[in-house]
């Protein structure tokens, strides 16, 4: 999720923006220029109403809707290309293709911008907002209901466990991050929160050893390529000082955006830690 702060893909709920008043009939040529809005959109509507999504949407490594996105046209999100689809609604995140967003806002096409979610409530909010805009309120509520039941149904982690979510370059998510919400939903105590870290902070190896977490969470692409980030977890000092620490790897696609599939991240945490 840290990635979202620095790079132009990503996002979800925007609470400040009032719900867009849907025009009737509901939009039939929706274009999404952000992977995260692709994920929300394809959960709610069928492919026949979607004119284009991002090129990431069919990539099963990063997208939770790779199957649904097959066969739908893809766009890079530049003005000309989007215009060619003649969209009647444009979906985007805060950071992607600002020029395109400005252009379509001026031209009167409804543009919906979704912010980064910080909790599961933010995801529900984003789903509701999009569901109203595309006229799929029932489906939206069904998805939210299913997420809530699943989240409530997980057997919480038995003993209180302290965890650190280790990301690129020793960044750790603290209060007010979606990762923290996922950890809390699994019943974990976030060490970064104990240390008073808001949003994202950094934690060196020395601090990590001193904090003695029970669990280290780590996110990665599904195929196990070694990265600089992964290397830190192989550090001999960590293995010697924390021999019993449990490492859980969560595929990045569950957390990139905050989508109905984010529930799977919680499920994975609970399963791995209870096993």
């Amino acid at each position: 999720m840290l990635f979202a702060l620095t790079s132009p893909v990503i996002v979800a709920a925007d609470l400040e923006t009032p719900y867009a008043v849907p025009r009737t009939p509901y939009p039939k040529k929706i274009v999404s220029i952000n992977l995260c809005t692709d994920e929300l959109l394809l959960e709610l509507v069928g492919p026949e109403r979607v004119a284009a999504v991002t090129k990431f949407s069919t990539d099963a490594e990063v997208s939770t809707v790779a199957a649904q996105a097959k066969g739908i046209s893809q766009t890079q999100g530049d003005i000309e290309h989007v215009l060619a689809f003649g969209p009647d609604m444009l979906l985007s995140g805060h950071f992607s293709n600002k020029e395109t967003i400005k252009f379509f806002e001026k031209s009167g096409v409804p543009v919906l911008i979704f912010k980064l979610p910080k909790s599961f409530e933010d995801i529900y909010e984003a789903l509701r907002r999009l569901a109203i805009a595309v006229g799929e309120m029932e489906k939206g509520e069904a998805i939210i209901g299913k997420m809530q039941t699943e989240l409530a149904g997980f057997k919480k982690i038995s003993l209180p466990q302290r965890a650190v979510f280790f990301q690129s370059d020793n960044y750790v998510p603290g209060v007010g991050t979606f990762e923290n919400a996922v950890m809390e939903a699994a019943g974990l105590r976030n060490v970064a929160v104990e240390l008073g870290i808001k949003d994202y902070g950094r934690m060196g190896l020395e601090e990590l050893i001193r904090a003695k977490p029970d669990v280290i969470i780590f996110s990665s692409e599904q195929k196990k390529t070694k990265t600089v980030r992964g290397e830190v977890l192989d550090h001999p000092a960590l293995k010697k000082a924390l021999p019993h620490v449990k490492t859980v790897t969560i595929p990045t696609l569950y957390l990139n955006c905050g989508s109905p599939d984010s529930v799977k991240a919680v499920k994975l945490l609970v399963q791995e830690i209870n096993s």
Binding site: L2, F3, T6, S7, V9, D59, E61, V62, Q167, S168, D169, N170, G201, R202, G204, L205, E206, E207, I209, R210, S219, S220, E221, K224, T225, K226, T227, V228, R229, V232, H235, P236, A237, K240, A241, T252, N256
Partner: protein, 332 residues
């Protein structure tokens, strides 16, 4: 007329530098996020503190020493061989080439199969850069030509790295590359030290061997040839030596620039402006500068720990500008 050049006696120079190096090394192992006394860590084996000392701080300090010495030595050797005061691995694109090689090894997954490929990738990248440098600029290029060649190589290396960033799918991996490129010694282990040691020692030997040849070369190519120095052999040694030690060092630490520029310049007056004597002295000086910068990185109070490569660039870039300014005044 004879110009008198004052030279600091070797024993004095080496003992001062040796003393500073010990102090910097001691500071590097004793300062960090956690505050504790060194003897606490040494007296209590297999305690938390001893792991922090033996497995985090010690390899970090040793790596700082090795990489700093490499950069100082390579800077001095390049300046001597090219007879050019602005020659330096970073400015001339050797560092950039090494970084590109290392990034390529990282993200093709080769490093997962053979860890040894990391320094090899760094070496190959650096080697190609040095070769290109000679193709572009030759051995006796003017300052401007050489710097331009360096700019060109840096641009090529940057383009290659950007292409790699473009092709990487995992957004987190992009972040990894960006952070890694800023250069750091944090959280390295003895595995890294052992990984690069053979390359670095081979490179050092090739460069330190060249002291006499560089002294002779400072009298001009013909004089050097008449003194029995084979320029071709010297060139091979400098190219290989630089590529080996700089390539391997950059491959585990990321881009760290300007050490090779600053150190030889500061120390040159103390060795009577003799390029041969400057080699070993610059190696010591480079190690001191890098260790001290690495201590500064950990001690400067800031929101996040600064990156080592960022700090050396902050020190080095103004120094570089000052040198250009002084050269311009001399030309007028």
């Amino acid at each position: 007329m004879k110009t008198q050049v004052k030279e600091t006696p070797a024993w004095l120079l080496y003992s001062i530098l040796g003393g500073l190096l010990c102090a910097a090394f001691f500071a590097s192992v004793s300062l960090g996020t956690l505050k504790f006394r060194l003897w606490e860590a040494i007296l209590h084996p297999s305690s938390e503190l001893s792991f922090i000392f033996w497995d985090i701080r010690l390899p970090r300090a040793i790596l700082g020493l090795i990489v700093g010495a490499t950069l100082g030595l390579a800077g001095a050797a390049m300046q001597g061989f090219l007879r050019n005061p602005l020659a330096e691995p970073g400015i001339l694109g050797v560092t950039g080439g090494a970084a590109l090689g290392a990034v390529a090894v990282f993200y093709t997954g080769l490093v997962t199969l053979f860890p040894m490929m990391l320094p090899v990738g760094g070496f190959l990248g650096a080697f190609v850069s040095v070769l290109l440098l000679y193709l572009f600029a030759g051995t006796l290029a003017s300052v401007q030509t050489l710097i331009l060649a360096g700019v060109a190589i840096n641009v090529i290396a940057f383009a290659g790295t950007s292409l790699m960033l473009n092709l990487v799918k995992d957004p987190y991996a992009v972040l990894d590359i960006v952070f890694w490129q800023m250069g750091s010694l944090a959280d390295r282990s003895f595995q890294h030290v052992f990984l690069i040691l053979p390359f670095v020692i081979a490179g050092w030997c090739l460069l330190l061997w060249d002291g006499r040849a560089l002294e002779a070369l400072s009298l001009g190519e013909e004089t050097a040839a008449s003194l029995g120095i084979s320029l071709r052999a010297l060139r091979v040694r400098i190219v290989l030596g630089t590529a080996l030690c700089v390539g391997a060092s950059i491959a585990v630490c990321g881009s760290i620039g300007f050490v090779g520029l600053i150190v030889p310049h500061l120390l040159r007056p103390f060795v009577g402006y003799r390029p041969g004597k400057l080699l070993a002295v610059s190696a010591l000086g480079g190690a001191i500068l890098l260790l001290a910068s690495d201590v500064a990185v950990r001690m400067i109070p800031s929101l996040v720990e600064l990156k080592l490569g960022v700090v050396t660039s902050l020190l080095g870039a103004p120094f570089f500008l000052l040198l250009i300014f002084r050269m311009r005044r001399k030309m007028l």
